[in-house]
Symmetry: C4
Subunit: 269 residues, 4 copies
């Protein structure tokens, strides 16, 4: 069976027919399998028991990903652009760990790079059925970006001032050993995470902490409000664009399934 | 007092007259009572003190539920369909624990199955006064499902990458013993639960943790925004629906300021 | 200075002139003062140091509240109705602690009753400037009540099933000593409070906990969405009711500050 | 190079040409640098290692800020107004720490004052590109202020009553040593922070805690709903504003489908 280079390129880079979709699916399974192996390998008991199996699987995945990478470099018409693109770098990072492991002893650093493989999933999902939904979320967040930036800046100001105050009030005895630790605690508290690894013990500290918590409670409404109102506006615009116009009087707010214009009574086109 | 099989079937399966509503209510009380007994029986002190009373009650409940199950199987016109339906299986699970307890020694597994009895409540509530309200919530969530799926997928990507990074940065000394544990910690943190059983102790780890928390703070706005805007849209449509009807064709979704019916084209009253 | 009984009743029960407002304000200050004394008295160090001062203040407050209670009973035209009303009972509870302390030794129970005094604040605030705003919040919550009830019922179902599962999976070694404790933990987790007093230690338990947390993350959007969309609708209706109608053509969506009807161009009344 | 006093005043106080923008940027960098030095100096290890470097940098920053302060006092036309204004006081506080350190031994108090320097950033950011976005947030919060105040008052009532109840139920053995501590715990729980430093251990306490958590879960919807609906309304008004202007009187808030100007009554173009 001989496939032309052009056909192969289509299979590898596109995803609009059966062959290319199968290729994408196989790749998706491979990526998930390799990430799961990396996760399992990090568990000490499993590593001691199945470490060698994982290593062989890792070699196999790397071999296949290397093959795929070479294929992509060979098939693409603009090699340099692909190699330096975001996806090109992610694809390269996905195969490096094993090769690097011959030079680098730090296996933990390697496992980070291996986890980055999951980023490859984006490429494939990008072409999936959720495209427009993801766009909706992305656009909503983008439109709210400036407001969210100001919000985060205000939060950081509160965190700095509260972190410093708590450091001064509570001191090292309660675990507030420095301003950065105080700021870490302020973030933990303001975001309502509340680990409890550091907690105020003096009455003044607890009073200030209560203030920060109530503040965080009110503040959480802000990003939610920003995103909600942006989404509501966006959705309304979408609904609006679904409307059709009357061909007689031009009234432009007809439902797509209206039979007659509700302004002039003529049959709607 | 002799009741026809048809009348009995009506009482058991429907809930639109006094007899069938009484049957439903009695069943509801029975289900809640059996679940409460199961809960109380799990408390060691109560089990030691009242264990035998609970066992007798459990036998009584099982007898009644068995009777009800046999009744339903006998009364239904399509036995196989009922037995293999969701409610059929739930009804069967509700009576199995005691019978299984003669074969299985694992009493804890049995208590799970006993807790599943509460699922039976759904069937009865389904017919209650909250129907349309529950529909509203269900429809809103359904319509938002695709968006929420993408959202959860993005969250899992962040969790995987952050969990791996924290595992590498903090290491087993701080409790981050493996990538799965790191991912568990990342979920605990991103969702602002913050148990505090595992917490970062290195400055870099605390910095990264702060980032994750602020991220979680911003991210929580997304599902809220999705559901809020969906509900607002749905509610607007509902408001729209109570408007005037066409006096000719009876089409009931006209705007109060529509001049002509948009279905039949007649002048709207 | 002699004041008629009728005038006195006006001062005590109404709040629409200077004298009655002064009476309300004095009462407000008294209530807050008595609650603050009760709070401070609960702190052991302060009790040991100023216990006697607090007791004398408590006697003084009780004397004044008793006076006020007798006044209200005497002044009201419908004594029985007042005594058995919500406010009548709250007023009585506010003076009982000291009298009861001669019979009851349990000082902690008394401090609860003393805290209930704060409920009296509601009566006075009720008449304040925030009336319509509080109404807005109360009405929004009331209108959402049915939806929130279903929501809470669903949450309790999840809590029961998850609590039972965690009790079975984790067992007493991790602190999950019974189903009620498991349910307590499930509520702590689902609401993203996350005390960390009980945490899963088995991998399966941590996986299930992760699921619960992500669920809680998605679920929190529901009450927010319910209340947000209800408030948005209510606000829109309010905006709408501000509109005035044209006296010529009857067009009913004019802004109150429109000079001319924007439909027919006539001077708007 | 000689610059007139007037020109210098323009550079220092305005930010609408290249020279004044450069001045602002330099000041911004200086402020951030000084705050970062203060933060790093609070870390014991860094203080022991680089304490002297930090001290010299601190002197340099103080020298520059003093120079700037003198410049501002000299350049402003209304000296007294500037000195007593919010920014004048913040500017003065920014240079005091070093001078005070010759008299005051409490270095922690000084580090708080040094952290206040960040407040100076507001002045510069105020003039930045985010102005209108920040306005949007500020206005939304302001318009919601009355509702949020009532909300916070309700929360404090719940906190007082629940704190007292938990103090009575759990008592000092579980860490609930006084009503203020109980209130601190109630805030920690209601805001879903959940440190876990104090947790209920009795069944009744855990039941009440569960109620508080579910309450907090429902309550968090309220501020979110307030802010969301306010933002949605505000945004709609904004959308409304870009609509058409009257060609006669120039009134710029006409709906696109207004036939006549509602201000002057002329036919709208």
């Amino acid at each position: 069976m001989i496939i032309s280079k052009k056909r192969l390129a289509h299979i590898v880079f596109e995803s609009n027919d059966k062959a290319s979709k199968t290729f994408d699916l196989a790749l998706l399974v491979l990526i998930f399998a390799s990430v799961i192996v990396a996760i399992l390998d990090s568990v000490l008991e499993l590593h001691l028991k199945y470490g060698e199996v994982f290593f062989i699987l890792e070699l196999a995945f790397t071999f296949l990903f290397t093959l795929e990478y070479i294929l992509r470099v060979w098939l693409t018409s603009r090699t340099l652009k692909y190699v330096t693109s975001f996806y090109g770098i992610v694809d390269l990072l996905a195969i490096l760990p094993v090769y690097l492991s011959f030079f680098i002893a730090n296996t933990q650093l390697l496992s980070v790079i291996r986890a980055l493989r999951l980023l490859r999933v984006i490429r494939i999902l990008k072409l999936g059925r959720y495209l427009s939904e993801a766009d909706f979320l992305r656009e909503s967040l983008k439109a709210s970006a400036a407001k969210i930036q100001i919000f985060l800046f205000s939060v950081l100001m509160i965190v700095l001032i509260m972190g410093t105050l708590m450091f001064v009030i509570e001191g090292p005895e309660s675990g507030f050993t420095s301003i950065p630790v105080g700021m870490y605690w302020a973030i933990v508290t303001l975001t309502t995470v509340g680990f409890g690894d550091i907690t105020p013990i003096t009455p003044v500290g607890q009073l200030l902490a209560s203030l920060i918590m109530l503040m965080g409670y009110a503040i959480i409404a802000v990003p939610t409000g920003i995103v909600s109102s942006e989404m509501a506006r966006r959705r309304k615009t979408e609904d609006f664009h679904d409307h059709k116009s009357c061909t007689f009087c031009g009234f432009d707010r007809l439902d797509p399934n209206d039979n007659y214009c509700r302004k002039c009574g003529e049959k709607a086109g």
